[in-house]
Symmetry: D2
Subunit: 147 residues, 4 copies
C-alpha cells in the first residue's frame, strides 16, 4: 500500500526515467532524503542517496528504516517502469553488514511481472572512497493498480 511509486501514465511509459524522476520529486520524504533516480526502465531501477548525519542511527550507520526505504523505493520504480501504477503490499530487508558510506545505491529488478502482482528484488550498496560494498538485500511485492 506504498503509494510512493506511482506512474501516472499506465502501461509502457514512453520515457520511464523522466516519468519516474517526476514521481520521485512528488514524495516529500524522498526529497528530504535526497534520493535521486540514476536509472529506470525495462524492469530495472537504481536510486542513489548521499549520507548525512540525519539518516544515522546511534552509531552513525545508516538507519535500518532507511535501508528499507531505499529498497522499497527502488523496487517500486523498477516495477513502475514495466507496469505503470503500483502499490507495495509487502517488503522484507536483510541487513548483511553495517551500512556505512558516503552514499548508498539501491539497484532493483523485476523478478516476475503478472497481471495483478509484481515481484521485485533489490541489492543495496554503500560506497566509500570509490569502493562499493553490498550491505543489504531485500524484496518487495507490489500490486498493480488498474488504470
Amino acid at each position: 500500500m506504498n503509494d510512493t511509486n506511482v506512474v501516472n501514465d499506465v502501461n509502457a511509459p514512453t520515457d520511464p526515467l523522466a516519468t519516474i524522476r517526476a514521481i520521485n520529486q512528488t514524495s516529500a520524504f524522498n526529497r528530504w532524503c535526497g534520493i535521486e533516480v540514476a536509472s529506470a526502465g525495462g524492469g530495472e531501477a537504481e536510486i542513489v542517496m548521499p549520507w548525512r548525519g540525519e539518516v544515522g542511527q546511534y552509531a552513525g550507520f545508516l538507519h535500518a528504516g532507511l535501508i528499507g526505504a531505499l529498497i522499497d523505493t527502488a523496487c517500486g520504480f523498477a516495477a513502475a517502469s514495466v507496469v505503470g501504477r503500483v502499490l507495495a503490499s509487502h517488503y522484507s530487508v536483510n541487513c548483511l553488514r553495517p551500512a556505512v558510506g558516503e552514499r548508498f545505491m539501491a539497484r532493483a529488478r523485476v523478478v516476475k511481472s503478472g497481471k495483478t502482482q509484481v515481484f521485485t528484488a533489490c541489492d543495496l550498496f554503500a560506497e566509500s572512497g570509490g569502493v562499493e560494498k553490498l550491505v543489504a538485500t531485500g524484496e518487495t511485492i507490489l500490486s498493480v493498480v488498474p488504470a
Copy 2:
C-alpha cells in the same frame, strides 16, 4: 545489523524505559522523525511518531520506508528490554491500508527470546480524531550482541 536499538547495560536493565528513551535520543534519525518511546519493558515496547509533511509519499500517506522504520525500531526496543544489546538482521512489513493519520503508534512484542536471536512482531496503528486503525504489521529478527 540495525544498531539503532542498543542498550548499553546488557542484561536486565534496571529501568528499561529510561534506558531505551536514552537510546532513542542517540539516533539522529529517530530524533528527526520525532519518535517518542511511550513504554518499554518486559519484552514489549510502544513508540509514537506524529505526522508531518516530510514523512509523506506522493499522496500524503506515511511513506512505506517509515512504516518499516517504526516497526523495526519498536521491535528493537521490545527485544532490548529483555536481552540488552541487539542488532536487527531481518525485518518484513505488510502494508495493509493507506497509512494516514495525525500520529502513528508501533506496538511490538517479543515472540521468542533465545541465546543468540530474538524474534519479535509489531502492529502499526494510525490515529485520526481519536480513532485507531491497524495499517501495517511486521516482524523483526534481532541478533543478541555478546556483552
Copy 3:
C-alpha cells in the same frame, strides 16, 4: 500460486468447514501428510497433523519444509473461509524451537482481507503429553481469484 486452498463456491460458503474439508481431501500431499481440518470459518482455521517418521529431518524433528506446509495450508483455509478461492503468493516461516511432538496444530487467522489480497498469520504448536508449545510462526499473502 499455491492452489491447494481453493474453495469452489466463491463468496460466503454456506458451510465453510465442510467445504474446506472437501478441499483438503483433494490435495494428494495433504492426504499423505495426514492433515485434518479441525475448524474453519469466519477468517480462522485450524489444521492438525500427527507425527510419524517420514515427516522428520535428520534429528527426528519435524522438517522445516513441513512447518511451512502446515502454516501455508492453514493460512489458505482461513482466507478461503472468508473470500472463497485464493492463491498464496508469498509466505514466511520463523522456526522458534525444535518442532518435536506427537502432533502439530497450525492455527491461522485473517489479518486483513481486501478485494484482491488477503493477509494472514499463523502459529504452529507441537503437542507432547497433552502440553502445547509454540514452535513456529508464519504469515501468508494470498491473492483472491476472481469468480
Copy 4:
C-alpha cells in the same frame, strides 16, 4: 531451527558434496521426497526432486509447502558447504508461477556468511520437456551452530 541441514565435520569439509549427500540421506522426509543433491560446495548447492502424484496439491501442481521445503533444504546445503553445521531460523517463499513439471531444481547460494548467521537465496525451477522455468524464489537465514 531446521536441523535438516547439518554437516557433522564443522569448518571446511574436505568433500562437501559427499558430506551433504550423506546428510541428505539421514532425513526421512528428504528420502520420501526423493530429493537428490546434484552439487554442493563453495557456498552453492543444487538439489533435484522428481514429480510424482503425492507431492501435488488439488490441481496437480507442486504443493507450496514442498516449494518451501526445496528452497529451505537447498539453502541449508549451500550454507553448510561453507560453515558446517547450521540451523535455519527463517525462510520465505515467493510463488511466481504454477509449479508444474517433471522435476524441480532448487539452486541456492550464500549471500553473506557471518560468524553467527548465514544469509542465503534460492531459485526454484520446474523442468518440462527439457525446458526450465523459474517458478519460485526464496531466502533462508541460518544460524551457525558452534562446534
